[in-house]
Amino acid sequence: MGIFCPRLWLPGLLFSFANTPQTKAQDDPKAREIIHKAEEKLRGNTSEAVVSIRIVRPKWSREMKAKTWSKGKKHALILITSPAKEQGIVYLRREKEVWNWVPSIERVVKLPPSMMSQSWMGTDFTNDDLVKEASAEDDYTHRLLGQDSLSGMPCYRIEMKPIPGKAVVWGKVMVWVDMQWYVQLRAEFYDEENKLVNTMYASSLKMMGGRMLASVMEMIPADKPGNKTVLVYESIRFDHEIPDVFFAPEQIRNVR
């Protein structure tokens, strides 16, 4: 998984596109500005959301519910609230480090870097998606390819390619951003051989937390027919006060 997906799915778990604006060679300022606005939609000083996550496989599916909190770009936390066996599990990110609270054994486990590439809770996301700091502003060039219509909504179609030398896993990312609300409706992730790896679809736009956001998102791996992860935002709010100590590893056992 790459830089876009988690940012879109769990606002605040992720890094924002919109860092200090910089001008890159072959970069289209208008395309950058569109991405910037789309990211601003999901950003706040803090965020708190309730989400449901459904993992779909050809022969089975399972559903989880979670609460997420974030503060700035560096602090994020996920609490699993169901199913019963996983209830109370917490993932905490501080900068690039991740801690996992395992309530059944009442233990905080620090995740090693090699574990970052593994699936997060069996979804189509990896642990790395929780900590990825890749920045679309700094690591990609942007090109506005034109306009499309998705589900009757006019969209900007933007191509993003990694700047040589940057630690980016994707060879190319295509993004569709709704022209009215600046909501990212679709993203395609390609590998270095220009082969499609994942597609993210966003739908069911509604006002949440005072912002127009996509409340349903689907991540579909291209090479695994019948597999997908569906995330539904049940509620979200922005810019309320969360003290820094809330994101301390010593405190994650108290998160409810």
């Binding site: 089975w60 066996k85 233990r107 090693p112 301390a248 590893p249």
Partner: protein, 383 residues
């Protein structure tokens, strides 16, 4: 035991009602039911003995207001088959070293044994910078993966795989938040305030390492310890060590030292590997009784019977619902080898099946002999 339980529930209820905040006063009950089947033999397959256990757990939690929390967890086990008929088994599983006994056993000559214990009964009071917890609780100071010398209040028995929650102790825990860590003071005592333990722990972070240092008094011993959790390149790198010094003249050694170190790595395609080592200066190298180690309560001063042992684990996640692992514990003396293969399958949202083996071998003279072979099949439903 019933009277004590009633007393605890009454006190907690009264305190909770007194302090209840209607917005938060939503008591939560959770738990599970497990059925564990066990087949055991030492050398001869024809002498296989079969046992079964029904294991239930009910956890009660109430956040009365933003400061006050209550928790009571109970564990119920019904043993059937050959295991409860073994001499001393009732005493082994029914032991409760707490300040007051919250354990109760009932058995019959026909071969069943019922064990009930309250292993958590606590009240917790929190402010922005302080948290005080009183009662039966798990004070988990372990930071390493397999063996935890720093976990001085609630020693974990690696072989008791069916007790994930681990036992609690009767005591207090005071946690103070620091800018980048915490300072903890904890104490516990056994029956009639015997076996007093008092220790302080300071946890902090240095670059990508979590560090902790502890010091205290453990019965008649003074102890100091340290632990870390960090990374060596992409591998996890963790360790703990404790040094005990006897504060009284005794026949036992003046110093006891335990140290463990672990490295683990997650490879691509769901593969995971782990290697760990434990040095235990108190290890006696006496392997007798190892066959029943699954049900024994261990001391933080003696986490394994041997002086030196290694643990290795290889695991593979085939899918989010199916994973397999093989763990090996190897004692450097007498070539003690314990193999623990396991297969876990999540059959449905709250249903889980586990097939697990515990195969113990050791050298006896020139031959390699079996110390005990156990196969467990467990089905769990969580609610």
């Amino acid at each position: 035991m019933l009277r004590r339980l009633c007393l605890i529930v009454s006190l907690l209820s009264a305190a909770a009602l007194y302090s209840a905040d209607s917005a938060r006063a939503k008591p939560v009950f959770r738990g599970f039911i497990k059925v564990l089947n066990q087949a055991s033999f030492v050398k001869n397959l024809r002498e296989t003995e079969y046992s079964a256990m029904v294991h239930g757990r009910i956890n009660f939690f109430w956040e009365a207001n933003k400061h006050l929390r209550f928790r009571v967890d109970s564990r119920q086990r019904l043993f059937l088959g050959n295991l409860p008929k073994q001499r001393g088994f009732r005493d082994l599983v029914g032991v409760d070293d707490g300040l007051i006994s919250l354990s109760h056993t009932e058995s019959s000559s026909s071969g069943w044994l019922w064990h009930s214990i309250i292993d958590r009964a606590l009240v917790s009071y929190r402010t922005k910078s302080l948290e005080l917890t009183l009662g039966r609780q798990r004070i988990n100071w372990g930071i390493n993966t397999v063996w935890n010398p720093n976990d001085v209040f609630n020693t974990y028995n690696f072989f008791d795989f069916d007790y994930e929650e681990r036992p609690g102790c009767d005591g207090f825990r005071l946690v103070t938040n620091l800018p980048d860590g915490a300072l903890e003071l904890a104490g516990s005592a056994g029956r009639n305030f015997s076996n007093p333990r008092l220790a302080m722990l300071w946890s902090t972070r240095l670059r990508t390492y979590d560090l902790q240092f502890l010091a205290g008094k453990f019965d008649s011993f003074y102890l100091v310890g340290a632990g870390w959790a960090g990374n060596l390149r992409k591998a996890g790198f963790k360790g703990e060590a404790n040094l005990y010094r006897n504060g009284q003249p005794a026949e036992t050694a003046d110093f006891i030292f335990l140290a463990s170190i672990t490295a683990d790595y997650t490879f691509g395609k769901g593969w995971y590997g782990m290697a760990s080592y434990l040095y235990n200066s108190r290890g006696s190298n006496n392997l007798s009784g190892l066959g029943m180690i699954t049900y024994q309560k261990l001391s933080p001063m003696n986490l394994m019977p041997l002086k030196q042992q290694c643990a290795f684990q290889a695991a593979k996640q085939f899918s989010p619902v199916l994973q397999a692992s093989v763990s090996v514990i190897y004692g450097l003396k007498d070539r003690l080898s314990i193999f623990v293969p396991s297969l876990q399958y999540w059959a449905a949202q709250n249903w889980e099946c586990t097939l697990l083996g515990q195969n113990l071998f050791a050298r006896a003279g020139a031959t390699y002999r079996s110390l005990g072979q156990n196969v467990f099949l467990r089905v769990r439903y969580s609610f």
